[in-house]
Amino acid sequence: MDKFALNQFLTLLKREVLEHRNLFVLAPAFLALLLLFAAFWISKQFPRDQLASGVAYLAMLFDGLSPVDMAPVFMIGAIPFVFLLYTYAFVYLMNSLYQDRRDLSVLFWQSMPVSNLKTVLSKVVTIAAVAPFFYIAVLFGVYLIAMIWLTLLGIQFDIEIVGIGYMFLAAVVSLVFVYLSAIVTALWLFPSVGWLLLFSAFAKRTPFMWAAGVFILVGFLEDFLFGSQYLANWVESRANPNQYVIFSFGDLVDRLFNYDMLFGIFVGAILIAGAVLMRRFTD
């Protein structure tokens, strides 16, 4: 890829972030503030000596432990953010190739020398890698504030605070795992991503009704014609978090390079190719 093509693709990603800044930045930031306020409020409910022994216990608990080994513990902190991300991811994908056709700005986007392939790929990369990055950045901010707060408490209570440093490192490593999990999840759910994009590009109105309706219809048709339910099973078999959550760097290779993952990417690519071709019908 030459320099201009790369720069062009980065511009497309920037465009997505600008359009969806509320989803990608404001929403997790709001959630973070909410959680931090809740944490402060809860800590105020405890008497001073209990709080001091609590901080001392936390510091002792993590002191000297490997941050990489402890990281999965802190992945729990990311759960509300991940739920928020995937709720928005669904809305984002459903609208991504529909909204601009509805408000006619598609005439502007399509009057630029950007291929349909790049447009659709920019949506996929945005949801798989860019949006999670913003969520991780917000979480990093949360952990940073939490660490500074615990450190200040530690100094105030005159506690050995080295353990809090270990805790923070583990929390930061957990963010790397959360980010990798988000990318792996997007790949694991590639067929669903493709399905949503295809109907987002197809529908003249209510893309969700089309996506859901046709899924049910094709499911029944498959059962009727072939006596199988692979389409319906697909959803069920891809729902297990064990298949995409990364708890260690070793997991990454396991999750990515297995037959089911690669076959899923392949059939997802069929649907995404369909969305790219569908993009030519703008009216």
Partner: protein
Amino acid sequence: MKNIFLKNRYTLLLTVLAVYVLVLVIEGAITGREAKVVKFDNPFFDLNLNNFEEFMDNRD
């Protein structure tokens, strides 16, 4: 041939879905992937109208 698939959005959708389902079914048959029949644990699907009271009791 290409013109038929790309004639309009509907023919394209049909083509893509047909390819997609065929790939799933063929792959499923080759690899012996278990083509489960969905089992419903929902009591509504065992509904026997002759036994409606029993059903109401069981449901709780």
